[in-house]
Amino acid sequence: MRGWLKRGDLGFKLGTGAFAALVVLVVAGIGFELWRQSALSLEKFGLGFWLGDVWDPVSGEFGARPFIWGTLYSSVLALAVATPIALGIAIFLSELCPARLRMPLTFLTELLAAIPSIVYGLWGIFVLVPAVRQFELWLPASLKALPIFNGPPVGVGMLSAVLILAVMIIPFTSSVAREVLKAVPNAQREAAYALGATKWEAIRAALFYARTGIIGSIILGFGRALGETMAVTMVIGNNPQITLSLFKPQYTMPAVLANEFTEAADDLYLSALIEIGLVLFVITLIVNTASRLLIWSMNRPARAPRAVRVTQVAAPAGGAA
């Protein structure tokens, strides 16, 4: 009987373990499959693929630098717009908000993450882009001489993409930052108040305590922005060029996959697109891992406050090491 029970337990562990292993396999499988399918392009172009500026599948020229540029430029700008707002929301909801408003406001801000990307895109095409076009027409000529504002006032372009991306990543950053702030011990704030701190100074103490987790939440938003596909595809204009201009149409890595994948007529073209997918996969994997590690390190109890560590160091040799 005991043997049977033990075998049953082993079966339970192995049976459920197989499914856990499957989850690991899926991630490894994605990496392997993308690498295998892009072998043709990897072999033929090597690093040159990422240095070339010309993307002309018809004549067989594949340079992917404009896509890297478009992806990084749009994501960095979106991050610059979204981060202050997202942190403001996190601070408001965790530190300042009246208890009665907290639940509904949290629900509403997180609803931004639940709206499908395609709906953002649709709204982008028919509402945001015309508004951006009006803004571009309105902008005085003296400002249009600046490199970031020059270009035709068409509405579709980097600016529309940045605005829509910013709105889309706000809920991710703000919800993680809020969780991180919630994990800050109240003693931190109370200590600050006891020293006569104002509200903001106390919040700053909490922010400082939570800094690694906060940085993690910002990087998480960055990872989301890098991989966002539909909404960006619909408003960025899809033109592979490297320019600082916010008004000019550009192109991103996910967007080129969405637009050209089903049109890829020959093996080399398809392989080149899959290589873009592979690099996107690797970049987002690194970014997300970095973000997770930072957020996890916050929750580890080993992170004792400085004051405690000082006493430990000062304790005589008899204490536990």
Binding site: I115, P116, G227
Partner: protein, 283 residues
């Protein structure tokens, strides 16, 4: 004195700025919901739910095939993602100290962060290329891959919340570990897990990118899992970038259906969670 006034002023300003940022984020939400509802409601009629798309350029027609397609794709995805997600979540929660659990937890988080379009490329390689055929099965697989990490992590989190006394009670009565989990711990966490699954379903129903080159699209009615199939999201995309005024109207109607679905599931999940909490704490 002056210095203190400045500090207080700074504090007040920051507090207001934080409040303002909530408003700044809610403005686009209100704008989007307003346009989706006001534009969508105009095109939403009985035809939208019952008719097939009209031939190119002709007005009229509806999304019937796309609605059936989305239901099928989500069904196929959930059929394998829910078991894989729940069972892997059970393993991670039951044997958290093992190397495999750490790896699976990491993998689930990584998978959650993989851009949806990349999942599409992956599934194209394993389920479209070998058969030289876009299919509902391929589309369902990509949605399932998107769903697995959400279900895995939800299950793990909820199992950890079940009071250890419940499990210990079962073990004391002679149950094996697996039996105790299956008959005592999992049922205790089941309502929460179901809530999580509903939210995950709503999320994958709104995915477009992984379907573009797996399920592809189909202008006709199809319920054949080995053939390309239409979906609400891909259909909205196709119509949105088309030059036809009437298709734009229908795209808004499709968006309204999608948003209603998401909102309905979110509110349902929220109410269910609140009720559960009340039941468990006994207030």
């Amino acid at each position: 004195m002056n210095h203190d006034a400045l500090r207080r002023l700074k504090s007040t300003v920051v507090v207001w700025l934080c409040g303002l940022s909530v408003v700044v984020a809610l403005v686009p939400l209100a704008f989007i919901l307003f346009f989706v509802v006001s534009q969508g409601i105009q095109a939403l009629n009985w035809d939208f739910f019952t008719k097939l798309p009209a031939p190119v350029g002709e007005p009229g027609g509806g999304f019937a095939n796309a609605i059936v397609g989305t239901l099928m794709l989500v069904g196929i995805g959930a059929a394998f993602a829910v078991p894989v997600g729940v069972i892997s979540g059970v393993y991670i929660a039951e044997f958290p100290a093992t190397k495999l659990a750490t790896m699976a937890r990491f993998a689930a988080d990584a998978l959650n962060g993989v851009p949806s379009i990349v999942v599409g490329v992956f599934v194209y390689g394993i389920a479209v290329m070998p058969f030289k055929q876009f299919s509902a099965i391929a589309g369902g697989i990509s949605l399932g891959v998107m769903m697995i990490p959400i279900v895995t992590r939800t299950t793990e989190e909820l199992l950890k919340l079940v009071p250890p006394a419940l499990r210990e009670g079962a073990l004391a009565l002679g149950a094996t570990r697996g039996w105790a989990t299956l008959t005592v711990v999992l049922p205790a966490a089941a309502p929460g897990i179901i809530t999580g699954v509903v939210l995950a379903l709503a999320r994958i129903a709104g995915e477009t990118a992984p379907l573009l080159f797996t399920a592809f699209n189909n202008r006709f009615f199809s319920a054949d899992p080995t053939q390309p199939i239409s979906s609400l999201t891909v259909q909205v995309f196709t119509y949105a970038i088309s030059p036809y005024e009437d298709w734009h109207r229908q795209a808004w109607a499709g968006a309204l259906v999608l948003v209603s679905l998401v909102l309905f599931c979110s509110v349902l999940a929220r109410v269910a969670t609140r009720l559960l909490e009340r039941l468990q704490t006994g207030h």
